[in-house]
């Protein structure tokens, strides 16, 4: 799941080497949280106008999570 998000983010940004994904656990329901960090000038490239890119990224991660039968959320951090 982490590798999937890394691939997507690295393919969209200008500075792929600064893409960082960390796995955390949501204390509320023990589900997986993927924390995505990118170079500050690349934030727009993973969020998009009105969050359109972020929504598309979450949709794909959600599909992968459904296949693996787990719950995953994506947080974009600055």
């Amino acid at each position: 799941m982490k590798e999937l998000l890394e691939l997507i983010a690295r393919s969209l940004v200008d500075k792929p080497e600064e893409v960082d994904v960390r796995e955390a656990e949501d204390p509320k329901d023990n589900s997986l949280v993927l924390e995505l960090r990118v170079a500050s000038e690349d934030m727009g490239k993973v969020i998009g106008k009105q969050g359109r890119i972020a929504r598309a990224i979450r949709n794909i991660i959600k599909a992968a999570a459904i296949k693996e039968n787990i719950k995953v959320s994506v947080e974009i951090l600055d």
Binding site: L7, I8, S11, L12, R52, A56, I57, I60, A63, I66
Partner: protein
């Protein structure tokens, strides 16, 4: 139109050869494609003839076409190094193909991708198992994948290319379903003289509905609401 298949394919996809006999022509064609007979479709273009006393004979001519899309390995990983036709794709399309293959592999989805590219657009046709996962509810996942792939294709270079992704003919089937639905609802609007509001759809699907009912003079169509909950309304004229 350039066509490439993300699977092991030889560079030449088609070979036409002439020989003294049909069998000889087939052997020459297969040799050029570097495959065995079961990997190609053979078409006999000319059976040839022996002629009299070895004079005036016609050579036999055959065409061997490589069979399409050998699927990827069990892991879902395509051996892209063997993808010799990659060279015919634009840089944007090639990196988008890598992007898609990478996503499918990381989702553990076995699939083959067929790419068709021209000046204005790139079409990726995915075939394989788990289509439902890639399509998602109302095609939501497929649309997201198409949107992100479009960003990858158009990342560099100033010319814009439209990107389409289809899987197991989903788009075509969906279009047919929507046109049937539109026709049925239009009839109901006319007979009941009451407007009908459809379920939320993306712009592409709404366009299919509008276009398919444009010629119907008894009704008109328009959209209401905001994305992603924008809906088509069919009403009496």
């Amino acid at each position: 139109m350039e066509k490439s298949t993300a699977a092991k394919t030889a560079t030449a996809k088609l070979s036409e050869k002439t020989g003294r006999t049909v069998q000889e022509a087939i052997e020459l064609a297969l040799e050029e494609l570097n495959v065995t007979e079961d990997m190609a479709d053979i078409e006999i273009l000319d059976e040839g003839s022996k002629g009299i006393f070895g004079l005036g004979g016609k050579s036999a001519k055959v065409r061997a076409t490589l069979k399409e899309a050998v699927s990827c390995g069990k892991s879902g990983a395509c051996d892209t190094d063997d993808f010799e036709e990659r060279g015919s794709l634009s840089r944007g399309a090639a990196s988008a193909l890598d992007f898609l293959l990478g996503i499918l592999e990381r989702m553990s989805v076995d699939a083959a991708i067929d790419v068709t590219e021209d000046e204005e657009s790139v079409m990726f046709s995915i075939s394989g198992a788990d289509a439902g996962i890639i399509i998602g509810r109302r095609g939501e996942t497929l649309d997201s994948l198409q949107y992100l792939t479009g960003l990858v294709v158009n990342r560099e270079g100033d010319s814009f290319k439209r990107v389409l992704i289809d899987i197991e003919n989903y788009r075509k089937k969906r279009e047919e379903t929507l046109i049937r639905l539109a026709d049925r609802l239009a009839d109901r609007v006319v007979s009941g003289r009451k407007s009908i509001t459809l379920e939320p759809m993306n712009p592409y699907e709404r366009r299919i509905i509008h276009a398919s009912l444009q010629k119907n003079e008894k009704i008109r169509t328009y959209s209401i609401g905001e994305e992603p909950n924008r809906k088509v309304v069919i009403s009496i004229k």
